[in-house]
Symmetry: C2
Subunit: 274 residues, 2 copies
Amino acid sequence: MNFTARLLQSQEKSNSLLCIGLDTDASKIPEHLKSHENPQYEFNRRIVEATCDIVCAYKINSAFYEAEAERGWRAMRETRETIPPSVISIADAKRGDIGNSSERYAHMFLNELKFDAITVNAYMGKDSVAPFIQSSEQCAFILAVTSNPGAADFQYLKVGKKFLYEKVIETALRWNTKKNIGFVIGATKPKELKSIRKKVRAVPLLIPGVGVQGGSVEAAVRYGCDNNGFLAIINASRSILYASGGENFAEAARAEAMKLREEINHWRGRYFQH
Amino acid sequence: MNFTARLLQSQEKSNSLLCIGLDTDASKIPEHLKSHENPQYEFNRRIVEATCDIVCAYKINSAFYEAEAERGWRAMRETRETIPPSVISIADAKRGDIGNSSERYAHMFLNELKFDAITVNAYMGKDSVAPFIQSSEQCAFILAVTSNPGAADFQYLKVGKKFLYEKVIETALRWNTKKNIGFVIGATKPKELKSIRKKVRAVPLLIPGVGVQGGSVEAAVRYGCDNNGFLAIINASRSILYASGGENFAEAARAEAMKLREEINHWRGRYFQH
């Protein structure tokens, strides 16, 4: 089954467009977990157990695991294994290098760790992206418009009449022969989200930036979804993971995730018939 | 001592602009090392021992270590520890993410592993680069013109009268208050190297792409050096690492590195007085 079909299935089954970003900061893990052999993994395991029926995806941010060296890498690997097959797993790794190096990254994240998708930085062009789009079952989410302030520095440079991020999208779509390319568009950029979705009706969009970063949930749903109210993957990380710093962190995360799913579904009901 | 001064010192001491890229592919390691507990590390240790007096830097390509999961991460960490303090160590990681994620990468590569430099992809702008340029002793090499075929896809887009890579350089130089930003320019792009070096006289340039990728050594030296024949870091990886696949691999690598250093110094003698 190709990636988009799997994503749809996951979103239908969970009735959710919500993705939880496992940006698990080792220094923010509740005290009572710190005696565990691998606190990052233990924290994630409980978050996944508490929320896997109400999300369509998890996004694992490699930065937070690499920050803990080998133990972190193991936490990432074992966390990946706890994600049920019906839920989409995304490696938020933002990789991209010359062909033979990208191939090594793709080998690890897609073949070994078996992530369903990975985020990719396309500055180095086609051969840097190619290893990530070999299987139609696995998706490369290419950075287009990111949610951070620095997005303005290069992504909005004018290339002829277009913005650079539009050229990135246009060019990547030419590589999309297996229909397994998606784009990262920050929820903090609703206008851009709207104009991009108009052009890429059937493409998955990964939308970070609601929650701590302040993007509008309404806009993420309204402008991020396809015609039927699907294919937007709306990510929140810190607001869910650290909803409580106490022993009830997993229940608090579930409650926060439920709230966000309901808010998302409220707007889906308003703007789409599904 | 700031990064540029340390690089100069290393290049003077070794009389070398050569950087060996430790793109150590676990599947290409000689048979007789495969029984070692960590063959990648063992291979690198011997390469470093055999060559550390004739290079100014080593560049460790994280893709090849991540491809081996925890064991690879340990090989990367232990390889870093074998590099003598007088030789520059570069993490070729091509990272870049929103501020709080880039901070985690910077924490690991620069504070924990204590690399002297890291390669950075600046597509996400200033806050994605900032965590990598906190210390004047450590350098961020920002991707400008890469050595691969895909470089043409985005790096040469015209932004007004300039190429995108020129805008990347121009913008990054405005962030360079600690004088610790350098650029990656492929040796396969001599014309661009020439025009960039004219504008950034005192900035270190990391120049991959001689060797297997076919970039000209003469052009890398002639156009990559500062006015005195320094500050170009000329990287070769596969042509040195795999000069021999047998038990004599380290000696063969040294011989190949010597040859390349001599070729580099031949052209330095031709074009510069030092």
